[in-house]
């Protein structure tokens, strides 16, 4: 589900995945709602917060599910090209095609303590490689250590962290001073270290 909200008097669009429904998996309807939320944020020039919890792409819908990865990523691309901020909050668990699309494309990526986050599940990895997986593999703390996310945030601290980030990243836009240039294209992304 998604909608517009305010955190500390700053408007934003919040998209939230529901793990209780088919493991939060992304099929066509899920991908469509996520994209609608992202596009609303782009059209209204608002920052975006996506709270993810998902087993990944929905197997039951086949290739239509896989293509939602491309669709949501492209929508994030347009939101970012408009100079708008995107915060991704990864909760337990966030896996597969959700991690490998919109959830990994934020300006700032947060995760809840102990959340399982990755691409391939531990069972799939062990069946494919017979590897012994290290203690704490694919936890939020593991991802911070490997430089993949910015910060692990316990839930009671989330309001403060989100408020600070929204202020930091929307200050220029709300003051109407800085005209951000669209960061279109691969070369621009590479140049910016994106």
């Amino acid at each position: 589900m998604w909608g517009e909200a305010s955190i500390a008097h700053r408007r934003l669009v919040i998209v939230c995945l529901d793990f209780a429904f088919m493991g939060g998996s992304m099929g066509a309807a899920t991908g469509e709602k996520i994209t609608n939320g992202i596009e609303r944020a782009t059209h209204r020039r608002l920052p975006l917060l996506i709270v993810s919890s998902s087993g990944g792409a929905r197997m039951q819908e086949g290739m239509l599910s896989l293509m939602q990865m491309a669709k949501t990523a492209a929508a994030i691309g347009r939101h970012g090209a408009a100079g708008l901020a995107y915060i991704s909050l990864l909760t337990d668990p966030t896996m597969g095609g959700v991690t490998a699309s919109f959830a990994a494309l934020a300006d700032v990526t947060l995760a809840e303590p102990g959340a399982m986050i990755g691409f391939a599940g531990p069972r799939v990895i062990q069946q494919a490689t017979y590897e012994t997986l290290p203690e704490g593999f694919q936890t939020a703390e593991f991802l911070v250590k490997h430089g993949l996310i910015d910060l692990v945030v316990p839930r009671p601290e989330l309001p403060t962290v989100l408020k600070r980030l929204l202020e930091l990243y929307t200050h220029a836009a709300s003051a109407g001073v800085v005209e951000l240039q669209p960061r279109n294209g691969v070369a621009a992304r590479a140049a910016a270290g994106g």
């Binding site: 099929g27 066509a28 309807a29 991908g31 469509e32 994209t35 087993g55 792409a57 929905r58 197997m59 039951q60 819908e61 086949g62 290739m63 239509l64 599910s65 896989l66 293509m67 939602q68 990865m69 491309a70 669709k71 990523a73 492209a74 929508a75 994030i76 691309g77 347009r78 970012g80 597969g96 991690t99 490998a100 699309s101 919109f102 959830a103 990994a104 494309l105 990755g118 691409f119 391939a120 069972r123 799939v124 990895i125 069946q127 494919a128 490689t129 590897e131 997986l133 593999f137 694919q138 593991f142 490997h146 430089g147 993949l148 279109n184 294209g185 691969v186 070369a187 992304r189 590479a190």
Partner: protein, 270 residues
């Protein structure tokens, strides 16, 4: 035998053709279609992934950028190519090459052939999900035409990681799915032996995907499959690539990017 299992067997025959050990791989097509392919190496961050190859090549007198997934033909080469399963470095090399294509205005030809992105501990540590996600976004915005051709197996996010573009073509006996049938059976039923059932349910053949409106053209293979006649398979692939490249190159780039966005935007839209 029930009708359902007969259909599943027919689908499984397609899966086996797509994975046939004698099937032409990316380099077979590249050497047949392009003159002077110059392979570039490395992601400039960590390493060189031999499961994804690429570099500039000449097609009809102009330079194109080739990005392709490569499987191995014998045991040693299969190990070197990691069975066509790329690590993050492969996707980051592809990103580097597409960035270069943009710089020089080269159209991109992507040849897809992978069971999946590599499901390994190291791949997770080095951010395989982040590498694929970056490519989905970058390919969706790249200001050059991109034509993708699935030559064998299109496996999940591992295939999509070099597969976003303006056209999607599939060789007649290739497959493309949200997950390999074995992984799907493992995820849904925790039972790999139900892979035939999974393959049937996934709707992964070129014809299934054309019916879903995801594929622009199915490229005919010689009777029996591409492995029976590499020359005929490459000729058909070349003709289709030239036709679709010509069509997308003729469009102004801003229009092409808008059409590329809408191409994905409409999938699953109500």
């Amino acid at each position: 035998m029930t009708q359902a299992s007969a259909a599943a067997l027919a689908t499984w025959a397609q899966v086996e053709l797509a994975r046939h050990p004698d099937r032409p791989y990316a380099l077979d097509y590249i050497h047949a279609l392009f003159s002077d392919f110059f392979e570039l190496h490395g992601d400039r961050l960590f390493g060189d992934d031999h499961a994804i190859i690429g570099g500039p090549a000449i097609l009809d007198g102009r330079t194109v950028m080739v990005v392709a997934q490569q499987k191995g033909r014998n045991t040693a080469e299969r190990a070197m190519r990691n069975f066509g399963m790329a690590n993050p470095e492969g996707y980051r090399k592809a990103l580097r090459l597409v960035g270069q294509a943009e710089k020089f205005g080269f159209p991109v030809v992507a040849l897809v052939d992978t069971p999946a992105a590599f499901p390994g501990a190291g791949a997770e540590e080095r951010g395989i999900a982040w590498a694929i996600a970056d490519n989905l976004l970058a390919f969706s915005q790249a200001r050059v035409p991109i034509v993708s051709l699935v030559i064998g197996e299109g496996g999940s996010g591992g295939a999509l990681g070099i597969g976003v573009g303006d056209r999607l073509l599939m060789m007649e006996h290739s497959i493309y799915s949200v997950a390999p049938p074995e992984t799907c059976a493992s995820i849904l039923w925790r039972d790999i032996s139900r892979k035939l059932e999974a393959a049937e349910a996934l709707k992964l053949t070129a014809r299934d995907l054309q019916r879903l409106g995801l594929v622009d053209e199915i490229v005919p293979e010689p009777p029996g499959g591409a492995h029976t006649d590499y020359g005929a398979a490459a000729d058909a692939a070349g003709a289709a690539l030239r036709r679709h490249l010509g069509a997308v190159e003729a469009l102004p780039i801003d229009q092409l990017l808008e059409e590329r966005y809408l191409r994905y935007r409409k999938i699953g839209a109500s």
